[in-house]
Every structure is written in C-alpha cells, then in structure tokens.
C-alpha cells in the first residue's frame, strides 16, 4: 500500500533547495536592508532620547542659574535704590545744613558790619565833638563876649556844626 518509490524525493529536495535560496535572496534583497534600517532607527531613537534627556537637564540647570541671577539682580537693584535714596536724603540734609550755615554766617557778617559802622560813626562823632569843643573854647577865649554875643556865637557855631554834620 505504501511504496517508497511513490514518494517524490526530487520534489522534496527541490523544495528545500528552493527554500534555502529564497531565504538567502530575501535576506540579501528584502529583509536584510529593512532589518539594518530598523536597527539603525532603534539606535537613532535611543540616541535622540538620551540627547533630549541631556538637553533637558542642561536647560534645567540654565534655568536654575538664570533664576539665581535674577534673584541676585533683584537684590542688587534693591540695594542700589536704597543706597541712592539714602544718599539723596543725606545730600538734601547737607544742602539744607549748608544753606542754614551760610545764612547764619551772612547774618553774622552783617551784624559785624553794622557793629563796625556804628563804632566808626561813634568815633567820627567823638572826633567832631572834640574839635567843636576846641573850636568853641577857642572862640570863647578869643572874644570876651557879652551875654548876647555869646548866645549868638553858640547859635552860629551850632548852626555851623549842624551844617557840617
């Protein structure tokens, strides 16, 4: 019922040979390049992911740095504003003080001047009075005068003096 000669050995061998050839051809022309590309893509993706990760870390670091810098700048700005405020206040105080001093000094000088003028005037008056008295005395001595003349003389002299003054 089962004859070994019936088995198609040639077909079996042909199929296996063809199968093997097909395998090699597929590998060379179709699936080899595709698998290569798949592997390349896998590596590419892995690379991209790792680089993205690195970039993210770097960006975070930069962000942190920037934040710190901003914080610092803020502190500095505050300091500067405070300083300038303090300085301006100080300056204003100084200016006011200066003005006050200046006015006080001016007042003092004016007072001094007045004093001087006054002293000068007094001394001039004194001189005048002394010369006048000498004049009066000399006049009195020059002439023995009667009462009427004397009166007149004094009147004249005083008028003279008055004109002088």
């Amino acid at each position: 019922m089962f004859d070994l000669y019936d088995i198609e050995w040639v077909n079996a061998a042909y199929q296996l040979l063809a199968f093997f050839v097909l395998l090699l051809l597929l590998k060379k022309f179709a699936f080899g390049p595709i698998m290569d590309m798949m592997e390349k893509r896998e590596n590419h993706v892995a690379e991209q992911i790792s680089s993205a990760e690195k970039n993210r870390e770097e960006a975070e670091k930069y962000l942190e740095e920037q934040r710190e810098a901003i914080q610092q700048a803020r502190v500095e700005a505050k300091e500067i504003v405070e300083n300038s405020k303090k300085m301006s206040e100080q300056q204003a105080a100084e200016i006011v003080q200066n003005a006050r001093d200046e006015s006080a000094r001016m007042k003092e000088t004016a007072k001094q001047d007045i004093q001087n003028e006054k002293a000068q005037a007094i001394s001039a008056l004194r001189e005048q009075v002394s010369t006048l008295s000498v004049l009066v005395a000399s006049k009195v001595i020059e002439k023995e005068l009667d009462e009427q003349d004397q009166e007149k003389l004094i009147e004249d002299t005083l008028k003279e003096v008055g004109e002088d003054l």
Partner: protein, 242 residues
C-alpha cells in the same frame, strides 16, 4: 474524480519521481514571495512609509513570535528562517484558494496549493526539525546537546528520540491535512456547481464564497502555526533551561 499529477521518473530511475506541476507550484509560490518582498523593500528610509511599514510590521511580528519562546540573543538567528517560513507557507496555502487547474478528462492537476502535497509539508517539517538539532549542537555545544536527551531523567531518552519523529510527522501532517481538506471540499463545491447547469450552479455560489473566506483564514492560521511551532521546537533544543 480522482486527481492525479503528471509524474516522470528522472533518467528512468524509479525512485527519482519528479512531480512536475508541484515543482512549478513551488517555484511560483517562491517567486511570488520573492518579488513581492523585493518590490516592497525598494525604498528604505529612516522614516518608514507605505510598503516599508508593512515589511517592518512583519519583521516585528516574527520577532514577537520568537521572543515569546526563547531569548532574543539566541532567537535572532532564526528571524530570517521564521519570515521565510511564514511567507512561503502562507503564499503556498493561498495559491489554491482562488482556483485550481486540472485537465478535463484525466484530472491532471496543474495548479493547486503545493502544501496540499504531504511530501512537501513533511519534508519541510523534517528540514525544520533537523535544523533544530543543528542549531542545538551549534549554540549549546555537543556536550550540552547530548545531555539534553537525559533531562529531566535518564529514561526520557527514548521518548526524546520518538518526540523528534512525532514532531516531524505532526508538523507536516497538520499543514498538509488542513490544506488538502480545504482543496477537497472546494473541489466538491465547485463540482456541484459545474455538474449541471441549473439550480445548483447558482446555489453553490454562496457556500463557495463562504468557504473561500474560510480557506483564507485556514491558510493564514496554518502558516502562523507552522512558524510558531518551528520556533517552539527550536526553543526546546536551543534554550538553556526548561
């Protein structure tokens, strides 16, 4: 209506029987597989599109089958084998679905599924089983390979030997029987429709369509099973631990 094949004995040697239509069908199946894959992989880019996606999906699919049975560093040797097996068996199964050619009087078959021939399926199965032994020797070394026959106990050795033959037979027979049965039933439905011009010519149409759809399903499933079992048997021989 028995189907028969045009056979010749090469060089007149009785055991060099050559089944001509079957050889043609093998060639056709392999040519289809090769050319389809060839033209689908002409444009390979880093960013895949169209056909390349389909091919990569297939590669990924076989990868998943392999990694479900063994480590990938061993399994990567069999990726190409798995792809070729599943494509060839699938196309071979599909060839008989749309039509079958035979001469009118003697029913010499000229076009059918090559996998409906037991010689081809069993020889393919034997090839796979022999390959598992080859890779078992190659990847584990002769010592480990020999020891495997006596695991988990020494009396398992005869069973292991029997297992190989049983595996060969079942792997080939399963494929052959499915496809052959499909062809027989298909022929019966078509025969019913063609026997007389009349009611049955139209009545047989609907079951034929249904059965063709079922044949596509069977063919796909059997191709998948053949590939899957190849990897399972391979993993038995190749894996370190069970």
């Amino acid at each position: 209506m028995d189907t028969q094949y045009l056979k010749v004995d090469l060089f007149g040697v009785p055991w060099l029987t050559f089944n001509i239509p079957n050889a043609i069908m093998i060639t056709v199946a392999m040519a289809i597989v090769f050319f389809v894959c060839f033209f689908m992989s002409r444009k390979i880019q880093m960013y895949p599109s169209g056909a390349q996606n389909a091919m990569e999906y297939l590669v990924q699919f076989i990868k998943n089958i392999i990694s479900s049975t063994m480590d990938w560093d061993r399994g990567k040797n069999f990726l190409m084998l798995g792809i070729t097996i599943i494509l060839y068996v699938f196309v071979a199964n599909m060839l008989g679905v749309p039509f079958e050619l035979a001469t009118a009087e003697e029913h010499y078959v000229w076009w059918n599924s090559p996998t409906s021939n037991p010689v081809l399926t069993i020889s393919l199965a034997a090839f796979v089983i022999i390959l598992t032994h080859v890779y078992g020797l190659k990847l584990k070394g002769p010592k480990e390979y020999g020891k495997d026959y006596f695991r988990p106990a020494f009396f398992m050795a005869p069973f292991k030997v029997v297992e190989d033959f049983a595996n060969t037979l079942t792997l080939g027979m399963r494929l052959y029987a499915n496809v052959y049965a499909k062809e027989v039933i298909m022929m019966m439905i078509v025969g019913l429709g063609a026997a007389t011009i009349g009611f049955w010519t139209f009545a047989a149409f609907i079951p034929l369509v249904v059965f063709q759809a079922f044949s596509v399903f069977i063919g796909t499933l059997q191709a998948f099973i053949f590939c899957m079992l190849t990897m399972v048997y391979m993993s038995h021989k190749v894996n370190e631990e069970h």
